[in-house]
């Protein structure tokens, strides 16, 4: 028979191990993130069909981010096809991870640029949220009805975010602008 004290020690030990493992894993990951170079970050970017993303985004918003006067015209099937379905959205999501790392890189190397880096980080996380909603919808069999709404917003956010990132690198004359422009 396990006593209350034994149970306490066992759970405390499990909690301690979990916390130590968490600390170790995140410490290792953050060290690795600190070693990132501009080139290594760009290598991680997936190829996304930029013209398709732009077409979906500009169906919802115009170049300055305002809603289009006519409202969205593409239907669900067209949005699905242009963005490459859930797989395409997952590629956008993976690119968002890289964009968060790029924002981290900018913030670490140029602390004065933290406001724009923070803005990029927030937008990348917003897309991740949209994609997670899509995954949830796919699990519950509601993907078809959810896809156009979430995916188009995610594409619009991604489009604006990449434009801002390029503006930042162009304005700062930072190395890697042409590489970034080709990648995203």
């Amino acid at each position: 028979m396990i006593s209350r004290l034994d149970l306490f020690v066992a759970i405390s030990a499990l909690l301690l191990i979990a916390l130590v493992v968490m600390a170790g894993v995140y410490w290792k990951k953050s060290r690795r993130a600190g070693d990132n170079t501009w080139e290594s970050l760009l290598e991680r970017l997936n190829n996304v069909n930029r013209s398709n993303v732009a077409r979906v985004a500009l169906d919802l918003i115009d170049e300055d981010g305002s809603n289009t006067d006519a409202g969205p015209e593409l239907d669900s099937t067209e949005v699905w096809t242009l963005l490459g379905g859930l797989e395409g959205m997952e590629q956008l999501e993976a690119n968002c991870e890289v964009l968060i790392d790029l924002a981290f890189y900018v913030q670490r190397e140029y602390p004065e640029a933290l406001i724009i880096a923070e803005d990029l980080r927030l937008k990348a996380r917003e897309i991740q949220w949209h994609v997670s909603r899509l995954k949830g919808a796919a699990e519950h069999g509601n993907l078809e009805t959810s896809f156009a709404d979430y995916a188009q917003r995610a594409a619009a956010t991604y489009y604006l975010m990449t434009r801002h990132l390029l503006a930042l690198y162009e304005a700062g004359n930072l190395p890697g602008y042409s590489q970034l422009q080709a990648a995203i």
């Binding site: 405390s12 916390l19 981010g65 880096a117 996380r125």
Partner: protein
């Protein structure tokens, strides 16, 4: 009441480590960025000396002083957590929206887990005050351990870099809190059995671990952070423009979508 040789050595070493650390925090002007952490170290200096004299006056004065400081210490540690969080998670003038909710969740979960585990532990002690002491130490360690490790994980997950000095403070506190969980768990298990010998040995190990942490802070807080690269004037102007545009776009986008 009797203090052994090792008790005196550890108390003195802890006191001196805190004194040197306080001198570094003031001398290097780190207290401007970390006023709460500096206050905690100053409080530790005052606590060690007060408890030392209270101990010589008898059991009751020591006990009341111990508990008064323990409550203040716990409150100040929570404020250090907040101070570090401001440095890490609030790079701009406001708390980012993705940080706020994560932060509240983490605090709530840490509190629930900490209280539940503390309730589960039934210290092997023969009086009420001893049981309260052991439980109080355990709750404080678990709560701080969970919060500081969650902070490390959360900053990585959200992609927020750490400034050099705040990273060192949190690393030290995280490591010390983990040691605190292990030591207070063992103290709960063994309690004051065998005349409190095991309890005392664990306390010594914990003080030793704190002295190592204090040494780590003395060295790392003494050293200067790497010099940040300067942002060109033109880039700064452009950044402000892009930021204004991004804020406008975000506001519009959050209200847009398919009807």
């Amino acid at each position: 009441m009797h203090l052994s040789g090792i008790d005196l050595v550890l108390w003195l070493a802890g006191f001196l480590a805190n004194l040197v650390l306080l001198a570094v925090l003031i001398g290097k002007r780190r207290f401007i960025a970390f006023p709460v952490f500096t206050s905690w170290i100053a409080l530790s200096v005052v606590r060690t000396s007060t408890l030392f004299f209270a101990y010589r006056m008898g059991h009751a004065p020591y006990y009341y002083a111990y508990w008064a400081f323990a409550f203040v210490d716990m409150g100040v540690q929570l404020l250090i957590f907040y101070e570090a969080a401001v440095h890490i998670f609030r790079p701009g003038p406001e708390w980012p929206r993705d940080v706020r909710s994560a932060f509240l969740w983490i605090t709530a979960v840490a509190l629930v887990v900490g209280i539940a585990l503390t309730w589960l532990g039934a210290p092997a002690a023969d009086n009420y005050l001893s049981r309260i002491t052991i439980r109080g130490n355990f709750l404080s360690s678990v709560l701080m351990g969970e919060l500081f490790i969650a902070m490390i994980g959360m900053s990585f997950k959200l992609g927020l870099p750490w400034q050099t000095h705040v990273a060192k403070i949190v690393q030290g506190l995280g490591a010390y809190s983990l040691i605190g969980i292990a030591s207070s768990c063992l103290q709960t298990y063994f309690g004051f059995t065998r005349g409190g010998e095991v309890y005392t040995a664990i306390t010594h190990a914990r003080i030793g671990a704190y002295i190592i942490c204090a040494g780590f802070w003395i060295v790392t807080l003494y050293m200067e952070a790497p010099e940040p690269k300067a942002l060109p004037e033109e880039m700064h102007r452009q950044l402000v423009l892009v930021q204004q545009r991004a804020s406008f776009v975000l506001g519009r986008l959050s209200g847009s979508g398919r009807a």
